[in-house]
């Protein structure tokens, strides 16, 4: 999911940095009160999650947790993922500093989309809670994969082949994460429901 340095043309990198910075500015405005502490913990979670490899036949995929971050933090997913990716790039050489903007946009934007689609669903108690938690993983992960495929297609790679790979790898991954989200959200709802309020 992390795009490497030197794959994308400059205009894509610059555009993505622009969107990322706008998103980060909006996100920082929304980080208030206890949410800031939660954002710190979620950043750490995101930072570590990418090291967890989910063995899927055709390739290597890792946990992302961007859907979970998006559901809870909304726009604040941008600064959260930006900082998480920064340290992944510095310490593990995942992605790189130039492409940090692109990678942040790829993972944070679908997370924000998942937030607006499902934030009301997870406030309920019935099937909508489970469906919302589970589907947010699909929206966030497949959305991120789709953005990667589109960017690579704009850079001249074959879109169909990449899109195929993305679906092969990321549907099982999204299923695994969807189940994790349900447990995490159930726990959060029980212990600190105020985080799911807005």
């Amino acid at each position: 999911m992390h795009i490497s340095e030197g794959v994308l043309p400059t205009w894509e990198i610059v555009t993505a940095w622009g969107i990322t910075l706008i998103g980060t500015a909006i996100g920082l405005r929304k980080l208030e009160g206890e949410k800031l502490v939660l954002a710190a913990l979620l950043t750490s979670l995101f930072f570590v999650a990418s090291l967890i490899h989910v063995p899927i036949g055709v390739g290597s995929a890792h946990l992302l947790f961007n859907g979970f971050i998006g559901l809870i933090l909304g726009w604040a997913a941008f600064p959260t993922i930006l900082i998480g990716l920064l340290f992944q790039a510095l310490l593990f050489q995942f992605g790189g500093l130039m492409v940090l903007g692109v990678n942040t946009f790829n993972m944070a934007f679908p997370a924000v989309v998942a937030h607006y689609l499902f934030k009301n669903w997870i406030k309920t108690d019935g099937w909508k809670f489970y469906a919302g938690a589970f589907l947010s993983a699909f929206v966030a992960i497949l959305g991120a994969g789709l953005l990667v495929a589109i960017e690579l297609a704009l850079a001249g790679e074959k879109f169909i082949k990449d899109a195929e790979l993305i679906f092969l790898i990321h549907i099982p991954l999204a299923t695994v994460e969807g189940i994790i989200y349900i447990f995490l959200l159930k726990f959060l709802k029980k212990t600190s429901p105020q985080f799911l309020e807005d």
Binding site: L8, E34, V48, I166
Partner: protein, 235 residues
């Protein structure tokens, strides 16, 4: 949130770490072997490999790794330094440069060592996954030795028939460590690759804690700034 993290760390201890593609190149039989692998140790299969002249930037040749992550090529004459790029799809890419000095190779990423090839009248070709091998007409029996990245060695013996047909006579799986064969330098080679792969794929505990510390620190500073502005009313 404490419980959440307990869950995460439990997961960490059982699964391996992944998602960076790396490239490793060695010289063998006057050819260059390129090995691509992900950070969890799985080989980068069917990945695009491009070889450039590092000085002029000209594309020399390209190809794909086989199902074991290997790609083999003969470097063209007159090139002093090679740049080898591996694309493993979805924007993953690894680069290494290689210096060619006369017949010996030195890699800038790892220490390359000049090696002599085993001399047993082997019909060369160690490129796994290719379909066709040219067999000289006077040969009756051929032996294929297959070295896999995890240290196994498989020996296939084929009988060459009249119409260029091959009949498999024997297949032996030899465990690398139990074997005292004459091709010790190949074992050495594999040992070296495995050591590097193992080193790079070990779980980076120190870096994980370092990163978490930094992240919490940055949010601590944010909290401080917000509190100073009176924006953040905790308690």
């Amino acid at each position: 949130m404490k419980k959440t993290f307990a869950v995460v760390f439990l997961l960490l201890s059982t699964v391996v770490f992944a998602h960076k593609v790396s490239i490793f190149a060695t010289e063998q039989n006057g050819k260059i072997d390129v090995y691509g692998y992900f950070s969890d140790g799985t080989p980068a299969k069917n990945s695009q490999v491009e070889v450039y002249d590092a000085l002029s930037g000209k594309l020399l040749l390209s190809g794909k790794t086989d199902s074991n992550g290997f790609f083999e090529f003969t470097p063209p004459q007159g090139v002093k330094e090679l740049k080898i790029v591996l694309y493993s799809g979805l924007g993953h890419k690894a680069v290494t440069t290689y210096q060619l000095e006369g017949n010996s190779f030195q890699t800038t990423t790892t220490q390359g060592k000049e090696k002599t090839t085993p001399s047993e009248g082997n019909i060369t070709t160690t490129n796994l996954g290719t379909e066709s091998i040219k067999v000289p007409s006077n040969v009756e029996k051929i032996q294929l030795i297959l070295y896999t990245a995890d240290g196994k060695k498989e020996i296939f013996t084929f009988k060459v028939g009249g119409n260029q047909t091959l009949t498999k006579v024997e297949q032996k799986n030899v465990n690398q460590t139990a074997e005292n064969s004459k091709s010790s330098n190949e074992q050495e080679e594999l040992q070296k690759i495995r050591q590097i792969v193992n080193k790079e794929t070990a779980f980076p505990w120190a870096k994980v804690f370092c990163g978490i510390g930094w992240i919490l620190g940055i949010f601590g500073i944010l909290e401080f700034i917000y509190a100073r502005r009176g924006k953040n009313k905790v308690d």
